[in-house]
Amino acid sequence: MTSRHPDRRNVIVSLATGAVLAMTSGIRAETADMEAAIRSFTKGGLIQTGKVKIDISPLVENGNSVSCGVGVDSPMTAANFVRRIALFNEKNPQPDIAVFHLNPRCGEARVDTRIRLATTQHLVAIAEMNDGSLWSDRIEVIVTIAACLEE
């Protein structure tokens, strides 16, 4: 967990890569861990903003169990559907939250779950369509009682 305390060099590196990401993909990923997790999901594809919406309370009292939904604007037909939706966090010990695998039989692209949030941070959702295009949403959640800290 000590590796998650950024030293100055890491901060500079992540700011630099964040700036590059912001230019190339239109989305700003703060920590190197989350960037790496997103890259391993997208395989470096171009991420566009839109179509995806994270549905979560902006102010959370207890990070141990937070209702979190994600919806994608898609007709979910055989010709046009969402293949996968991934959820990432910025400051938990691990950047991955979940990956949902969908298909036209879902009818709608909407999934809800409950997640843990270690602290106030950003969440990123990325949807991969059947044509391979990638869409994203990003939201900040303020957490007053953190998860992962209780003994």
């Binding site: 939904g69 691990q94 949902f100 879902c106 909407r110 779950t113 409950r114």
Partner: protein
């Protein structure tokens, strides 16, 4: 120990999009906590959830440690014909638990 609760309609019309919800009783131990003696508590999480309807996988989720204890999942499917809906949870060690519901679909 492991118990599942399913929330879904018993009946639906053909072509209707129905919402299926499931809660599975499981600690989703992250592996980042320590016990009172200071020893790390080993990670023990559900890593995969699947839903099969008429023998076809209609939804799958990969979970990580950031999913809360007693994992809850809600998703949708199109009612196509009457049949069994099988929910399966698998943990990191490969152990799995299944729960079955019956869906009756009218024209």
């Amino acid at each position: 120990m492991a118990t599942a609760l399913l929330y879904m309609p018993k009946t639906a019309r053909r072509g209707e999009v129905i919402t299926l919800k499931a809660v599975f009783s499981h600690p989703m131990e992250t592996g980042y906590r320590r016990d009172v003696a200071g020893k790390p508590i080993l990670r023990d999480i559900i890593t995969t959830f699947t839903c099969r309807y008429e023998g076809v996988e209609v939804f799958r989720a990969d979970f990580h440690a950031a999913i809360a204890a007693n994992p809850f999942i809600s998703f949708t499917t199109v009612a196509t014909s009457s049949g069994q809906v099988i929910f399966t949870w698998t943990d990191g060690a490969g152990k799995s638990w299944s729960e079955t519901a019956q869906l009756s679909v009218s024209a």
